[in-house]
Amino acid sequence: MPVPLEASANPPTNAPLMDRFRTGYRWMLLARMTEEKIASLYRTGKIVGGVFLGKGQEALSTAVGMSLRKGDYLAPLIRDQAARMAFGEPLLDTLRTYMGVRSGPMRGRDGNIHRGRPSEGVLAMISHLGAMVPALAGVLMAHRFQGIQNTIGATCIGDGGTSTGAFHEGLNLAAVERLPMVVVVANNQYAYSTPNTRQFVCNDLVDKALGYGIDGHSADGTCLQSCLEVLQLAADRARSGHGPQLVVASLLRLTGHGEHDDGSYIDPLLRKTPVGRDCLKLAEEKLLANSWATPAEIALWHSETQQQIEDSVAVTLREPLPDPAHEDWCALSNRHLAEG
């Protein structure tokens, strides 16, 4: 039986880079392979609705998840399978939500990337981009009111999402309150089909930090080491009272916007530039080059991960689907105040 990776086994943030890189690589692998499985379930009609994957963004997303500790909050966005897992969301939560089974955290009521467990520190995103930024700020205000110290929150957003009013208002509010929040922009060059040139015209999205009076950091989103280092720095600064931290990472979405989309609008030349490299491949190369892992070890991780996913899928496929007759159809927690 493979031993599944657990967030509680993340090396401490001051552990040697090698340890953190090895763990990071395994989260990336788990996220990538999980999403490949989800894509194949989607293609065979086992998953209904949208499927939005994080291929090419796992290094960044993993680093976000690993920068957090128990008690922190994560407000993941579309392409954060890796962050979720590295922060502790169980694989079964992912699969159960995609399959819409009753046992999942969303019980078939909401699907795919909209899952979350607010009481365990994972907010459940609404689709409206930008909306999670002020929500996470509110969580951190709550911690301040409650005297909870040393917790931080991290959230992700895309290049497109930076154009929303919600992003702006939320980030500014967090800056005014000097909240310990890390806002990570995954600049993957496109918002759906819309290229950066139609989305913003500043030289670099990190230039926005100045205008909010907060720290800005750039990361190479294709490089796990860069992401780990930058996210750790940002998390440390947030945790030590330096207010919101804006991290901008450059990378490329290595898949369609969703699985219904072939991404044919993506400029093929971009694939040839540094942002177009596959972070997972790069990480694997680095593991080998630095002798941080042997080929055999990596092969074992692959097969263990594969097994873990297959086992969880097998479980999920047997679980009962939602049954309208057993739904309570009540949108309020106060049943007596509900209508109809």
Binding site: M106, H128, A131, P134, L140, M141, A142, E169, G170, L173
Partner: protein, 320 residues
């Protein structure tokens, strides 16, 4: 004597006093005490718990949602109900869906200074209860009395679900009571504000008082008109409305909002569907006109229903 506005302030003070999870957030609610003084002195009485926000309705509400998820009970003040349209998405798509989606409740109270006053114009006069009531997952309260303003705001804060608290600006200073109630009817129950046997006028918020004045006027003509105060428009207490119509056989619903799809249309639809046989005459409704709320008092005075137009409509109903 305590005013409707003072009752709202008192309820907030009590909530802050009794529950450490409560805080107040909004534009100018801190040292300044709010545009209408609904939070006057609260910032100094409760240091660090009554905070001025940036000019960012979407983020104000978004942050309150996050704080509620993390165990707080935020009271948010929109400077005017009209500006809640800028935070609309967070209310209807985030706060309202959370419990159903995640099983985690979202106890935020959003105070909307609502309704028309002379000279306020199209953007400082709106009554948005119907918008919020349309969405699942929200409780929408519309207190018409000083007692309800106090008791229902306290209940709003105590309730685990997001509450849209529509307080009427016209009532802020106009309405006074001898004292604050120690208990009150529960949220979700309508109240018969005046008993009668000839017709039922269903109303809420500021229009209740126009309806009561109309009933008074009609009493001088020998009509006994019953007036029902909805108190809460979602849930809407159909039972109390039907019971009244069962007694009177005649229904007029009055609201201050725009005519298409407001509270009055919901009331008529329910009574027609569930109490058809109780009706001795076609039900009627009276709303504001289908234009933005006009600025000049001359126009404003005829844009929304008044005691005079309500009495006129009721007379036609009574004589049907």
């Amino acid at each position: 004597m305590i005013t409707y506005l003072e009752a709202i302030r008192a309820a907030q003070a009590k909530a802050l006093r009794d529950d450490p999870r409560v805080y107040i957030y909004g534009q100018d609610v801190g040292a300044f005490g709010g545009a209408f003084k609904a939070t006057k002195n609260l910032a100094s009485e409760f240091p660090g718990r009554v905070l001025d926000s940036p000019l960012s309705e979407d983020a104000i509400i978004g942050s309150a949602i996050g704080a509620a998820l993390a165990g707080m009970r935020p009271i948010v003040e929109m400077q005017f109900a009209d500006f809640s349209t800028v935070g609309f998405n967070q209310i209807v798509n985030h706060a309202a869906t959370l419990f159903w989606r995640t099983g985690h409740s979202c106890p935020v109270t959003i105070r909307l200074p609502s309704g028309g006053t002379a000279g306020a114009g199209p953007f400082h006069s709106q009554s948005l209860e119907a918008l919020y009531a349309h969405y699942p997952g929200l409780v929408v309260l519309t207190p018409a009395t000083v007692e309800d303003a106090y008791a229902m705001l306290l209940e709003a804060v105590a309730i685990d679900d997001p509450v849209i608290f529509c307080e009427h600006k016209y009532l802020y200073y106009h309405l006074k009571a001898a004292e604050l109630p120690s208990e009150a009817m529960p949220v979700g129950k309508a109240r018969v504000a005046r008993h009668g046997r000839d017709a039922t006028i269903v109303s809420y918020s500021a229009m209740l008082h126009e309806a009561l004045a109309a009933a008074e006027e009609l009493a001088t003509e020998g009509w006994e008109v019953e007036v029902v105060d909805l108190r809460s428009v979602k849930p809407l207490d159909t039972d109390t409305v039907l019971a009244s119509v069962a007694r009177t056989g005649r229904l007029l619903a009055v609201g201050e909002s725009f005519p298409w799809g407001g509270v009055t249309s919901e009331v008529l639809a329910r009574v027609a569907a569930e109490g058809f046989d109780l009706l001795d005459a076609p039900p009627r409704r009276l709303n504001a006109r289908d234009t933005p709320v006009p600025y000049h008092p001359n126009l404003w005075g005829t844009h929304r229903p008044t005691a005079v137009t309500i009495a006129g409509e009721a007379r036609s109903l009574l004589n049907f």
